[in-house]
Amino acid sequence: MFYLKNFFKIIKDNLLSGILLSLISLIIVIYMGNIDLFKNKIIGLYPEYLKGPYFYALLSATENHSRIKRKMLLLPGVNKVSIIGKNEVKNQTLEILDNLSMGQEEEFNFEYRGMEIALDRDVNARGQELIRGYLKRLAGESNITLGKVYPPSISKKLKENLDIFNKYGGMAIGLCLFLVWLLAFFSLKQKVKKVSFIIEQYQRKRGVEIKIILSGVALFYIIGCLISYPLPTTQWYLVAGVGAVFFAIMALLSGRPSWES
């Protein structure tokens, strides 16, 4: 408690580096423990990247679309299934009819619903055919009309960038966070060194520097663990790794306190 109290006193006097060190310690634990979750969240900002080839299907409005959607999603290679409502199908059809100057809507039956089936990016032509065949069997061949398979809609450049991000981005963000942590750590370390020097001079205590900084960082590490605990995606070996790195750096860089002006 004595060391933790001193840690917060030092933070109070050095708000920027103190808050930075505390917050980044917390963020690193949560981020590294759930690195895949955060990476996927960022990639999720570009849904077209996750979406591979896709096709549309037109089904009778009387079909149980939810059941078909659920069954399709269980299929390996199916990334996303979106149901297109009756009204949207109607509007799109009317637009096409209008463009073709036909305008005879009363002759058409609009009791249809659409479905957009997006496949995984790595599903090959054979896989695509198997999925389409399964959908036909599921809905009944006479009740469904399948559109052609469109290639993924993402630009080549964006795809390349996102590929790189997918491969190295998670760790790169982790590394950046860690560099900021180191910066804050070195900045605060000088202040901790001074206070530790005084405490060791006038109180019967040893190893004050490492105890002060360790108690502070450990507190935020534990809070990070508690926040990560309910998250099912937490990779605890990474959380433990972060703890080990924190401890090693603090132990290596904390020497005998000195007074450096």
Binding site: F2, K194, V195, I198, I199, Q201, Y202, Q203, R204
Partner: protein, 237 residues
Amino acid sequence: MLQNSIRGFSKKRPVTSSDDTLFSLEDVSVTFGNLKALESVSLDIHQGEILFVTGSSGAGKTTLLRLLAEQLKPDSGKILLPKDLIGVRLFISQVFQDLKFLMNKTCEENLFHSFDKKVYKNKKIFLGEMNDLCKILGITDRLHLKMEQANGGLKQKVALIRALLAKPEVIILDEPTGSLDVDNARKIYEVLSYYNMKKKLTIIWASHNRELVKEFTGRIIHLDSGKLVYTGHACFI
């Protein structure tokens, strides 16, 4: 209580030596580049002793104190510290020449760095002793000042009180009265000799002011260009 005990104490003779050697230096030399800061210094310091280290600026006083505080290692010779001689690591506190304060804190906050729960049962006892010492040295009304607002004299008094409140077995003082007039210097000596007598505090006091030191009771060693040139009783200098 402490104040009453100290009042008039200087008339009594403090303990100046004993047989228990606390520090032993044998032929110790320290060199900084081409400069010989200490040259073949041999010296024993005893438990409960008041030792004055005199010499002009650059004579090697601070170097000697840093050796005793284990902040320096000798280039040659042997230095035996309390842990080597009496097998115990004694608590040594220092009053540095540059004082070393947290400048954005008040005098009081800086004094609180000496509040050690291993030494004081509770804060009340610590505060009592702190207030007594502040009263004796006449700084009670200036404790709220930030260190950056304090003058040299106040800083030196705070530094001394901080070191005494730590209740060390040995106190090392590097020019503790440099910014003080003779009366205040005498007052500081009175306080220190009280602690020496009552609490067997070993005092190692470096000063360039031999005239001042002559007034006090204790052993004196004089350094000149890193060499020990005189050792004897302060009043016989």
